[in-house]
Symmetry: C2
Subunit: 336 residues, 2 copies
DNA sequence: CTGAAAGCGCTTACAG
DNA sequence: CTGAAAGCGCTTACAG
């Protein structure tokens, strides 16, 4: 059955339909000026034979592979515990599937691997464009990619002065909303578990401070502690915070908030009675936490969708200048 | 700079090195019989120019794209909450990177998408081989893929009678170990939260029953309840179990165990004093649970590594017949 | 509107 | 050991 049939080519279809291979190619590529009857005849043969063009040959001839790469710089620790990437990939694949694009995954496990693979990414003509996650401030890909003429879109704001295309969520606004909410709750001894490993952390810190400024609330420097976005670091950070007796804590990520929550529980304190707690991300587990975590929801899946759409427009030459897309966030009220 | 340089071709390198393009191709592909000096001269030019072969052209000429596809049938719910896939992808990319293979991701969001994309997967010559996750018993890909001549490896045991290649963990043995551990703890009122959505669930149930048989322990049918591998389902299942007063529960997945754990805590019971609880998977969050969850660790990352290696051998024609690889699991002692 | 032909950048028998 | 040449299966000016 299928196993024996030789692979059909454009010429075969042309012969069967009584036209040239050029014409078959044109109907496949929706070239407009074709006599309707001819088009129909060809399409009939294509359907009957189940012909599918050889994508590799198409790529070589058209200089377009239809493959985009998702680059996740080495951050294994993060990726393995963080559902963020799953949501992102979900949004991305949804959109590539819809656009007829192929998604190639470049996940690096060491700095070395990163450097090695970068070259083959840029030079081998396999990939039409790149979506790159901006996970750290010092992202070597940022510098490398802008020196080449491969189209790319960052997910998250990269730390760089030149204008480039990226999609991001409103981190500053989100943190502002979180702080404002805590203030509206009547809390005044606000604390923050921040993280300055990437620009998202920076922006969230900025939004938090902005809200305090706007509401003329002072913050004790002792109530500003750092984590690394992980649950463990949130746990430790919260313990550093206890001596300062905060009545409200904003954790710059849900994972850290979940860690803080555990420390709070173990200290015998009640959320939100003793300490109000707000996270950032709205991970699936946050809704399931005990008590459910109030947090800032960011539309991670949409980030993936928008990234692909933006890149796709760049590939179709519809866009010249770098473009930035900022997606809104929202406060999700739960325990606090 | 880089932006202006025209892309080099084999001919360019040949001209620069004073040899034909065929020779350059041969040194690039490590063809053995080449005069050392010629090889060196060519390699020098390649390094100096930073030449990288066009992969698309290589693919067309060699009929080998170097791209393998990871197919995740539509199971969005699962994938989004389950770190399993992240570990798997991590193992897979580690190995594809090392082998010089490219990984293309095929994640489906509906049955319809699955059917549509399947054809282009099989017929467009883009993909050399497939790694397919066997997430459900009714996996339409199983039937489709075996009708084509594309090499493939399943991750997990598919429900099918014909012999095919797959990598799997010792589910039966793992569940046996779990039950045996509970028995050794002196428990006799054993219960199981099972799931029959896929063969992993079946196998775990089987191993559990086997241990009970071997130790001549009866099980009250009321103590056999079902979930769907999710936390919520484990929570609900545990509540069904309370009336049967079990002193030990084996949950066929950590997510279900975590749900059960919550139900147990809310019922005011203590783990392991009142109820011993064992899960299966060893997710990152299981070690962080309160109390830490005793579970069966499965080497998910290794599953990815072995899958790629097996597929790669198939692609290199080193292997003819279908092969099955079963990776060991181990009991991880924590609270229970 | 359609076809003949060149070309995309490689690989690989076939000679020598 | 190395080169000339054909070929992989498409796309796309160029004519007509």
């Amino acid at each position: 059955m299928n196993k024996q049939t030789k692979k059909l080519t454009l010429d075969d279809i042309g012969a069967l339909a009584g036209v040239s291979r050029a014409t078959v190619s044109r109907v496949i590529n929706d070239y407009p000026h074709i006599t309707p009857e001819v088009r129909e005849r060809v399409q009939k043969v294509i359907v009957e034979t189940g012909y599918k063009p050889n994508k590799i040959a198409q790529s070589l001839a058209s200089n377009r592979s239809g493959i985009i790469g998702l680059v996740i710089p080495h951050a294994v620790q993060t990726i393995l515990t963080n559902p963020y990437f799953l949501h992102l990939i979900n949004g991305i694949t949804q959109t590539t599937n819809a656009c007829g694009l192929n998604l190639s995954l470049f996940l690096f496990h060491s700095m070395n691997e990163e450097v090695q693979m970068a070259r083959s990414l840029f030079y081998t003509n396999l990939i039409d464009g790149l979506i790159i996650t901006a996970d750290r401030k010092e992202n070597p890909f940022v510098k490398q990619v802008i020196q080449h003429d491969i189209p790319f879109v960052f997910v998250g704001r990269p730390q760089i002065k030149v204008p480039i295309s990226y999609v991001n969520v409103a981190n500053v606004m989100g943190a502002y909303l979180a702080a404002e909410h805590l203030i509206n709750l009547g809390r005044r001894r606000l604390a923050i578990i921040m993280c300055d490993h990437n620009t998202a952390g920076d922006d969230r810190y900025k939004g938090f401070r902005q809200a305090l400024d706007d509401y003329h609330i002072e913050i004790d420097p002792q109530r500003i502690v750092r984590g690394d976005f992980s649950l463990e670091s949130g746990y430790v950070a919260m313990q550093q915070l206890f001596p300062t007796v905060p009545d409200a804590v904003f954790a710059a990520s849900d994972m850290m908030a979940l860690g803080a929550q555990r420390a709070i529980r173990q200290a015998g304190l009640i959320i939100p009675d003793d300490i109000a707690l707000v996270g950032f991300d709205d991970l699936p587990q946050s809704a399931l936490a005990e008590p459910p975590l109030t947090t800032i929801r960011q539309p991670i899946e949409d980030l993936g969708i928008e990234a692909v759409n933006l890149l796709n427009e760049m590939l179709c030459q519809k866009i010249g200048l770098p473009r930035q897309i900022i997606l809104p966030v929202e406060l999700v009220l739960r325990a606090s």
